[in-house]
Symmetry: C2
Subunit: 423 residues, 2 copies
């Protein structure tokens, strides 16, 4: 990307913020359930379809063409010279249940606004720019479906067997919406056709909000491993079993949890995270010493080496505790995702675009998974974070100040113009 | 009880063990579910009623009268002089779901065998002896119902509102079995009419089995308090929330659990027990730092003072941890039961009866609740424990060696003869 030409327009063109704000509020009406609270625009539900129709309409009202690929990813494309690879900007408009207004949506609407402004201003670019709103990022059917299809990471078996929590198959759900699920295999792009992928997202964490910095420049998307850990002891009567005759797996878990901070300090980085989010005791009665405990371990870092060291240290600690306490220890790996680095040049461009506008920015990791993580397998990626009020997300309390949204939108517009080579 | 005359017969009379064994095996057929495993003879179910009819038949076949009181407690009475208070021996034949053969049942059948042997041998006693098989000890409708009725610890409101886990009321369940629930209020006995109450039970713990001692002489039935403790923090994304910005209530619980042994050592006795048997995390997702944890604390000791000290120490530890970690702490008291001491003279009689027979015995607490605990409020009580194989109970794996059952039965017979004043 050393040939990126830096037109002045990338510093001077601004988004139409009133229009962007109106669209954010308009899309927030779709799938809203005032009784339950929050948005319910899960992938391939009627609300999701209504959202897609609304988005296609906005694209067409801007004089652009609404394009849907085989994975039902929806977007548009603008400008560029023949045979040049595309600069993509995207995110998703599907939501978790009980969602806020901004997760995913903000990235899509800012991408649309950026491309629309370029068209209105008659900006010419060397590379075409493309908006893409990915299908099922949030995981009704497993998550990151649309970006995985684009990156060529699905196959007929994964498409055929995907089901939601109620047992509805992806094939049936897409079919009801008028899509043919197997066509998702056609959504794959050749890496030669993609110049770069950028995505704006709310941080979903407290860092920018606490530090009062409007722009986060993502350097790495963290990898993670998720374990289901099992400690097995002996269930006993809480009254009749002396303390020293117990083999209580919950006390083993408590000891292990107490060692997590030490293990992170000794083997992790400042960016390491470890979370025990789910704990099940069996039989789970107040008057019974538990015989078994099953718990989740979610461990993240931006470095594969650090993650390996952490995995080793957690295993050792659990084995030692189990041995000493007469417990059986086992674990299943539920998922493993490699960290994804952002492209250093795109990181630099985003930083410069913030600087031009007098905006403070902070290099930071993304602790959450995003479509960008998948896209990193076929293209250089970049991500912009805007502050999440109190770090809240996946909740109707999710919010970002309007001025931060405007700032982020302009940084994205400038970055897009630079990457596309505006004249 | 200093006037108890010690007839020689208390040392020489033996139970008919073959008959006792046959009855244990016969009652083990009633309510057995071979597919689900174990016994399902929950109070006021058809299996419980079949068990009661079988027991009444055994009583009558022995030439005794089957007597049912207002609380549907079933038993019989033998001998004694006019106006003398009764020596009671009892337990229960109702079971938990998936039960073993001996919990409760053994005490009732040994009581029956002892009284039957006295009758067969023509033993005369100063005080009448009475067998009582209490209703709903195990708690389909809350537990210890029959003994609470005898001790006068029920009232019309408790009878009217008692329901099982499926919402069936005690009133309806008893009515279907031909009983009038409100008549339970008539089962109350005057304390002047009861000389003493004794009960044999399986230990339900591992101590006698591990020490290979056949006779446990209960000195105290432990009291308990049961808390539901709530620690409230802030739910957060497991990936986006740095470790130092978390207020994770599960880590607070883990720290607290780690302090339980210290708190027991500093404030408890050798007989103190503390158990965390139920833990619920909210929202309980692997990728979310929990926002709230609710857990049970079951704490037992034989001394009210020790229990008070423990309660204070646990409260202090929880408050300190909550304060330091920015958590909210609250707890509800789910139940509180005072410890019940056994009568020192009865303890001595049981010990001597074991010694006469060349049986090793061990003074010990009962960590579990028993009808004897309730009966202690209106009478001097004593309890004999027999070993539980591997401490197993409330399970089809519950078992006691036949020779230990025979030994326990003869100790009970001797104790009953001494208490009743045999001639």
């Amino acid at each position: 990307m050393r040939d990126t030409s830096r037109g002045d327009v990338s510093a001077s063109l601004q988004v139409n913020f009133d229009r962007l704000r109106d669209e954010i509020l308009a899309l927030a009406e779709i799938g809203r359930d005032d009784q339950a609270g929050g948005l319910y625009r899960m992938a391939f539900t009627p609300a999701d379809m209504e959202g897609r129709r609304w988005l296609a309409d906005r694209i067409e009202k801007a004089g652009l063409e609404a394009i849907t690929d085989g994975a039902a990813n929806l977007g548009t494309r603008y400008g560029g010279e023949p045979n040049e690879p595309v600069v993509m900007v995207g995110s998703h408009i599907d939501t978790v249940p009980n969602a806020g207004y901004l997760d995913g949506t903000l990235g899509v609407l800012i991408g649309l606004e950026a491309i629309r402004r370029m068209k209105e201003a008659g900006v010419k670019t060397r590379r075409p720019v493309e908006l893409i709103s990915f299908s099922d990022e949030e995981g009704r059917f497993g998550g990151l479906f649309g970006s995985q299809a684009v990156a060529g990471e699905i196959n007929p078996e994964t498409v055929r067997t995907a089901r939601d929590l109620n047992g509805v198959s992806l094939v049936d759900a897409m079919s009801e919406c008028g899509y043919e699920a197997m066509a998702a295999l056609n959504a794959r792009r050749d890496r030669a056709t993609i110049h770069s992928y950028i995505e704006l997202h709310i941080e979903q964490g407290p860092v920018l909000d606490q530090k009062q910095i409007p722009v986060g420049v993502v350097e790495n998307i963290t990898g993670l491993f998720k374990w289901s850990v099992r400690l097995e002891g002996v269930p006993n009567h809480a009254g009749t079993t002396p303390m020293e005759m117990r083999r209580d797996p919950f006390m083993g878990l408590a000891e292990f949890a107490g060692e997590v901070p030490r293990i992170l300090e000794e083997n992790g980085s400042d960016l390491s995270r470890a979370t025990i989010g789910r704990v099940d005791l069996f039989p789970g009665a107040a008057n019974t010493v538990p015989g078994e405990v099953v718990f989740s371990m979610d461990v993240r870092d931006t470095s594969s080496e650090v993650m390996e060291q952490l995995a080793g240290a957690f295993r050792k600690a659990l084995s030692a505790i189990a041995r000493r306490r007469g417990l059986k220890f086992g674990f299943d790996v539920l998922s493993e995702v490699e960290p994804a680095p952002c492209d250093p040049e795109i990181v630099g461009i985003i930083e410069r675009q913030a600087g031009i506008r007098g905006l403070k920015s902070l290099r930071m990791p993304s602790g959450a998974a995003h479509d960008a993580q998948i896209m990193s397998r076929i293209a250089p990626i970049g991500m912009v974070f805007v502050p999440s009020k109190d770090g809240r997300s996946h909740s109707p309390a999710e919010w970002t100040a309007w001025e931060d949204i405007e700032a982020g939108a302009n940084v994205m517009l400038g970055t897009l113009l630079e990457l596309a080579g505006s004249r």
